[in-house]
């Protein structure tokens, strides 16, 4: 188990952190979240070309950058800390991982370079109702020849921004993934009003939309799911740390009753508790990334570690957000104060890809309990 980063990884973290500080102050977040696209195309190009963030965890043989889950997690933690607005989770995590896992090498080499360069934005359309990511209740169907799909998908992250949709559908009653041109006839997209304005969601309807079948056999969604969960867990601990830092900083400055409120034990103890919860969550997120690096993303160990981390980090993130507002008092509930930006990300991340309760159960089942 590696609980510390290599020197190269530390340097990479510094590069990503500096990029986020430069490109994603909260003024930029506020500006972008109010737009329909929700991101800055120039920053996105730099993120792909200069940082090399998209495809970072995908082997070069499949058209990726050739690092692994630990590097992906470094990127996610820094993005979570800074709330950098970009289609990274949709394109760089979900669509990229889905293509790398489900497509043939030839297909991956055809699809991924455009995504890795940032010219193409991918999105993953798998969820059909509020509780499904895994394909048990999959209703979308493919035509018998696999050349088109029909169905309805919800909660498609950056679905409006995408040029390329990776869509799950049943082909001869087997779950498969398809590549669909987002602009094609038969594809209808509409925005879903998302509580977190920094994570844009869409509804996508497919009516005999032309599709390209990926891979040669039934898709195993597990490694895609686990990779997404670990990425999200690391994003969440980055956000939780930002909230903790903000709460500590504010309570050291704010004076009431002739003393800084941070000198009251009632507040110090709450922040000590929060630090403990955030640090424990970090350990689960780092551990999960390492398990994926060591064991791959498909097995029971990966599912156990990924679900454990998702549940622990979601709880810690939301707790940090709630406490950060409370410790700011009235100002913490205002639009002007930045806390709500992270609160909304925490709140939507809590249920995104499954709730903490679902993941605790999934973890136990992966353990064989």
């Amino acid at each position: 188990m590696a609980f510390k980063l290599t020197e190269d990884q530390e340097q990479f973290r510094d590069i990503v952190a500096r990029f986020c500080r430069d490109k994603s102050p909260t003024t930029a977040v506020r500006e972008l979240m109010a737009t329909e696209a929700g991101y800055d195309a120039g920053v996105w190009q730099q993120l792909c070309a200069e940082v090399g963030a998209v495809g970072i965890h995908v082997p070069e043989a499949k058209g990726g950058v050739g690092f692994g889950p630990v590097e992906l997690s470094i990127v996610m933690e820094e993005f979570g800390r800074s709330l950098l607005c970009s289609p990274y989770f949709a394109s760089g995590v979900l669509a990229t991982t889905a293509i790398a896992e489900a497509a043939t090498a030839e297909q991956a080499n055809e699809l991924l370079p455009g995504i890795v360069s940032g010219d193409v934005i991918g999105a993953l359309a798998v969820s059909e109702d509020a509780r499904s990511f895994e394909p048990e209740r999959l209703q979308t169907v493919a035509a018998e020849d696999g050349g088109s799909v029909t169905g309805s998908k919800h909660f498609v992250v950056d679905g409006l921004n995408a040029n390329l949709l990776i869509v799950s559908a049943r082909l001869n009653n087997e779950p498969r993934l398809f590549a669909v041109d987002a602009e094609a006839a038969g594809v209808t997209r509409s925005a879903q009003a998302s509580m977190d304005p920094t994570r844009k969601l869409a509804r996508v309807e497919f009516d005999n939309a032309p599709a390209t079948l990926l891979g040669n056999s039934a898709v195993d969604i597990t490694p895609i799911y686990n990779t997404a969960l670990v990425a999200l867990a690391n994003e969440m601990v980055g956000g939780a740390q930002a909230l903790l830092d903000a709460a500590v900083e504010y309570t050291k400055l704010r004076v009431q009753f002739g003393r800084t409120i941070g000198s009251f034990q009632a507040i110090k103890h709450r922040l000590a508790d929060l630090l403990l919860q955030v640090e424990l969550a970090k350990s689960t997120a780092y551990q999960a990334a390492q398990v994926l690096a060591d064991e791959g993303a498909a097995g029971a160990k990966a599912s156990e570690a990924a679900s454990l981390a998702k549940a622990a980090c979601a709880d810690a993130y939301l707790e940090a957000a709630i406490q950060c507002i409370q410790l700011h008092g009235g100002i913490g509930f205002t639009w002007e104060n930045d806390t709500h930006l992270w609160f909304k990300r925490a709140k939507s991340s809590e249920v995104f890809l499954g709730s903490p309760n679902q993941h605790r159960e999934r973890m136990l089942q992966a353990m064989g309990v």
Binding site: M1, A2, F3, K4, V248, T251, K252, R259, T260, G262, S263, F264, Q265, I267, K268, H269, L271, A272, D273, L275, L276, E279, L280, A281, K282, S283, T284, Y286, Q287, L308, A311, A312, N357, R360, E361, M363, L364, V369
Partner: protein, 416 residues
């Protein structure tokens, strides 16, 4: 590397020509004290070889590997030794260290008082100089092994007119005297691991003060630092306690007496290791609500282990300690409390039973009535949170009301 190997081969040949399982424990350990091989990392003039702690650890390991007993280390004695080594004078080191490592003397710690637990420096046990003796009056509490100790490490107030930390002195007190009365203190879980110690005109010869008058707090900090370091030490005597022969019988008796107070410590930590077994044997494993709590508990417990792993990795890499290094004790409290709750849910009405009637021959009941100790012993959760918020998060200290002369500091009614 080569040096370590030649050192080890020297020790190996010394052991081969000197180890005699037929001798008594004290005879053998006297040989270790005389040659310095039992505490090789101590200075040469005081029963050691002047080697580094790492070399000392290699030698201890070699003893264990060869099935050979080392010096006495159980109980409080090594805290006494470490404190005397750091703060004692030449005469004190010569007088006490030998019989500590031969196991002939046992020790206890006399720090906490009924009126000063978390606020240890608020000690009101008094030491007054009368001729060539200090006269001690006061009460101590939570003194592990005091009922069979020969000596005590005593913190007492010698100056009431200076701020509280500056008026304390540190003494070695002979426990076998009329002015010292030891009473065992029974806990809510039925065990009696600790004692109360009443001192009424007890006598400490003038030369038995460690370090200087008024430096007692600094000396106590040394003792406490060694106590924290040993907090997670595995107890039980190790593989050597399995070997046969009279010298090992003697060793087993010593370990059994010294470890008696710690028998219930696994239970106070919540026995997370028993959770799945209990859930399966009771069928609670199928209850979706209990499953959630089990998953929460296992997650917290694993996360605490990984967090400790991160702290170790940072330490090995020579990095400054991050927050992850200060959180273990608080995490352990949360884990124990949650474990106790989950054990209760799993056991259902069986949680009303105790003794042999309680599941696992009473272990479950012992968990339920022992866990409340974890968040108190060795520094309460509240003190831990103060330390974490002030030292890790850099938050301001509370305003203080105890910085003036100790005489004027508000105290518990019983002490004024």
């Amino acid at each position: 590397m080569a040096e370590i190997e030649s050192l080890k081969s020297e020790v190996r040949s010394w052991i081969e020509s000197n180890w005699d399982p037929g001798s008594s424990l004290v005879e053998w350990r006297t040989k270790l004290a005389d040659t310095g091989w039992g505490t090789a990392h101590w200075p040469e003039e005081y029963f050691g070889k002047g080697l580094s702690p790492a070399e000392g650890a290699e030698i201890d390991q070699l003893f264990a590997d060869m099935g050979v007993l080392g010096v006495a280390t159980s109980g409080v004695r090594m805290l006494a030794a470490a404190t005397i080594l750091e703060h004692g004078n030449d005469a004190q080191k010569k007088q006490y260290l030998r019989r500590i490592i031969t196991g002939e003397d046992s020790w206890c710690q006399l720090f906490s008082e009924p009126g000063s637990g978390s606020d240890l420096a608020g000690s009101t046990t008094r030491a007054d100089l009368d001729g060539d003796s200090w006269v001690i009056n006061g009460q101590k509490v939570w003194n592990t092994s005091a009922h069979h100790a020969d000596y005590g490490l005593l913190l007492a107030r010698t100056d009431w007119d200076v701020p509280k930390h500056q008026g304390l002195s540190y003494f070695i007190i002979d426990m076998r005297q009329p002015g010292v009365e030891v009473r065992q203190l029974k806990q809510m879980n039925g065990h009696a691991s600790f004692n109360e110690v009443f001192m009424t005109d007890a006598i400490v010869p003038r030369e038995n003060m460690l370090d200087q008058p008024g430096n007692g707090w600094q000396v106590a900090v040394t003792t406490l630092a060694h106590e924290r370091r040993g907090f997670d030490r595995i107890r039980g005597g190790g593989a050597l306690a399995q070997l046969e022969g009279p010298i090992f019988d003697e060793y087993r008796r010593e370990v059994e007496i010294d470890n008696e107070p710690y028998k219930w410590y696994p239970q106070r930590a919540g026995r997370v290791d028993l959770i799945l077994e209990r859930a399966r044997e009771t069928g609670a494993i199928d209850d979706p609500v209990i499953r959630q709590d089990i998953a929460r508990l296992l997650t917290m417990s694993q996360a605490a282990q990984w967090t400790a792993g991160r702290a170790r990795a940072a330490q090995q890499a020579g990095k400054p300690q991050g927050p992850e290094g200060s959180l273990g004790k608080l995490a352990a409290s949360n884990i124990a409390r949650l474990a106790s709750r989950v054990h209760t849910d799993i056991s259902a009405m069986d949680a009303m039973l105790t003794g042999a009637e309680s599941p696992h021959d009473g272990v479950i009941a012992e968990i339920l009535v022992s866990v409340p100790a974890v968040s108190i012993a060795g520094g309460t959760d509240e003190i831990q949170k103060n330390i974490i918020s002030e030292r890790v998060l850099g938050m301001p200290k509370e305003p203080r009301f105890d910085t003036g002369p100790f005489r004027d500091v508000p105290r518990n009614v019983s002490e004024t």
